[in-house]
Assembly symmetry: C2
């Protein structure tokens, strides 16, 4: 295990104000924080797995030990946000209680218990000239996370990032700044207490848009930026970021009930995929039903989806006269609530075309008993996850067995689908020779 400050700085202008005692982040400008995190990243990248796990375990204990202090900071944030007119949903996301803090600690302990992704030899071979080639999994370096209200992201993201050998730069919302500062102060104390550099976790206390844009443009500092939030944040990252990023985008997910579907199964899956937790990205927003089973399926699924507002196309409304008309907008929308668009399609091809036209490339499911249909769907639908005869709700790091996730990528580069520890690493080519030169 390595520890202590890193010298000299990576760049001529770095080093001033870096790697000081824990808790001194207040007032440090974005670039200086970034330099400090970059230098700390070199140390954690070569720290042992045991050292990183010890820090994460310390964090879990510290969250529980200091729960009163965290909740007090959170109470002030919530009061301020309520006074500023934040809506109930926003306040709920912002609010912590003992259970939620305990959940954060539990999450950290689970992350610490996961297998270390760093150092894995991904593959290797020997060239005809004797040169030995291996590809080794190494930390990315500095992970940047921009997020919104939820203060639990602070410890979740820092835990996953450190487990994968990275330093973390966090930028939460202004409304949660008191809570986030309290949590990050503990994380930094824990790093210092366990022999790692405190700057392996830094928080941007300047929550202005200007500082966020500066963060998105820290080239040579931030190796991977992960925005966790709505459209506005994602669009801002796409527009302003000059550092590499991974988009955790919308989940406009579909369930297609094929002509050969087991309708009992289809009903169970539709209900689960829509209603089990409607506010999350892997719930469905549109139900596509093959014309051949629409008469039989639509009335029963409509009853089963009691409480969900359905809107549909002509084929749907012929079978369900009470259902309102679905607009293009409906099919293109991630409702994140108890609303579902429905369309009747006359073929699997038409279902796939609908999905490609409106889908966001997140999770798409088919219910079918027909092998050809299942194969056509899984090979043709262009999405992070395609699901046969199961609920889209399984597209989740924990549910798929990856452990905790830092997000679900809807882009194709680097990470696609649930982003676990492995997606917080990259590859290094290591070449061993005995004097080989190129001719």
């Amino acid at each position: 295990m390595s520890s202590g400050p890193v010298t000299p700085p990576d760049r001529p202008d770095a080093g001033r104000g870096a790697a000081g005692p824990a808790g001194d982040v207040v007032g440090r400008p974005v670039g200086s924080l970034g330099q400090a995190a970059r230098m700390a990243s070199r140390v954690v990248a070569r720290a042992s797995s045991a050292a990183r796990d010890a820090a994460i375990g310390w964090w879990a204990d510290a969250l529980e030990r200091n729960v009163d202090q965290i909740l007090e900071a959170n109470r002030l944030d919530v009061a301020r946000a309520a006074g500023a007119g934040m809506d109930v949903t926003g306040l709920d996301r912002l609010r912590l209680d003992e259970d939620r803090v305990a959940g954060m600690a539990t999450g950290l302990r689970r992350v610490a218990a996961m297998a270390d992704p760093v150092g894995e030899v991904v593959d290797g071979w020997v060239r005809p000239n004797g040169l030995q080639v291996t590809r080794v999994r190494v930390p990315l370096g500095v992970i940047g996370v921009i997020y919104e209200n939820r203060p639990n992201v602070t410890s979740d993201a820092a835990g996953l990032s450190l487990k994968a050998g990275n330093a973390t730069m966090l930028r939460g919302s202004g409304s949660a700044i008191g809570t986030n500062s309290a949590i990050v102060a503990l994380l930094r104390d824990g790093l210092a207490a366990t022999g790692l550099p405190a700057d392996a976790v830094v928080l941007l206390e300047d929550t202005s848009h200007r500082a966020a844009v500066e963060f998105m443009q820290l080239q040579g500092i931030v190796d991977c930026l992960i925005p966790r939030g709505g459209h506005e944040l994602v669009d801002s990252v796409r527009t302003h970021a000059t550092v590499p990023y991974v988009i955790d985008g919308d989940g406009n997910c579909h369930l297609y009930v094929d002509a050969s579907a087991d309708l009992d199964q289809a009903e169970e899956i539709a209900a689960n995929a829509k209603m089990q937790r409607p506010g999350v990205c892997n719930s469905i927003e549109t139900l596509l039903v093959h014309d051949a089973v629409a008469d039989a399926f639509l009335p029963r699924v409509a009853r089963r989806l009691a409480g969900v507002t359905l809107v549909g196309d002509e084929g749907t409304r012929r079978r369900l006269p009470d259902v309102g008309e679905a607009t293009e907008e409906d099919y293109a929308t991630e409702f994140l609530g108890m609303r579902l668009a429905v369309a009747v399609v006359d073929s699997l091809d038409a279902a796939v075309d609908h999905i490609h036209r409106y889908g966001s490339g997140h999770s798409e499911a088919i219910v079918t008993r027909d092998l050809t249909a299942a194969d056509a769907f899984t090979s043709r639908v262009d999405a992070a996850a395609v699901v046969v005869n199961a609920s889209t709700r399984f597209v989740d790091g924990e549910e798929l067995g990856l452990g905790a996730e830092i997000g679900i990528s809807t882009q194709k580069l680097h990470a696609r689908g649930p982003m676990g520890l492995r997606e917080l690493t990259c590859i290094r080519y290591v070449l061993h020779g005995n004097g080989q030169v190129r001719t």
Copy 2:
């Protein structure tokens, strides 16, 4: 194998002017070209490997068969560029001859002969509830390539991209537009002739900056943009692109001669890494020499590097009085020519720090007989490739056995180091259940 036009379009506004006869790209605006490529990408993604290989083989034959026509178009481009004052290096890059066209054809045949990356089951497992999870390699979709003078990139990029099941949008330089148009017309003919959609390869004939920026912002169309060019192009992509991209950046590479180096080996490797082909990214730009061997090594390596202009720090110039003084700028520069910066360092740590301060994260080498030094170097140096006792010139797709490469990534996300066929694909999660729902 699938073929023919794709219907209906992915988006409400697409489809007009798409998927027409081969060769009709002239005058189509960027967005319409992109839509056409997107639709074509769905077809090539599910085309068989045999169908894709047949098209690439057809291309190779067509390049050879139509060499006169290509060279005539190229002659006009070269004359126009010479008239506009293009320098000798630029003209050399732009110019084709029979050998170069034959080389393009050979390159395509090699790509066709490579193993198909598409469909590989990367891994898979079964969850406790019986849900079967597999991760399958699938095409990215639409690969965008922005490049400069060299017209051979046109067929090289299209060949790799199609081999990996992708459609390709190409944007070469205005100076090469006649040559590129002639080549792309053949590629499109070949796609149509072998039953694939011609729009699987499209060329932006509008080579204005405005059109390039529009290209960089084709969200939902371009899945991966690869800029192949100098700083200005890379900076422009970083600034303007809102689609995902992979940076093929600078190679400011170092060779560190450790205290325990075999100096004969070090001399051979230094000469090879600097002089074998100085104008390419995996050649070295700085030589770092441990103080303990500087007296013995510097005079002999200076003799061996006859023809290379050396600049050095004080430790170097004490041993080599004729050597000029190296500036910060020298250490930060990728010379791409017969110039080499030299520095004497007093430890491996100092060498690593120098590399982190000035390096571009491309390829970094050490010459040593000491196992601890080799391990420290490979584990600590943060670069795409770290090399022990061999030349940095091996960091190349062909040399490492990956086959042809579309570039060498100096970023960490998605691809790091040589980008071969695998880096032109992504992963899809495929989940098979029998009615599983989440509780």
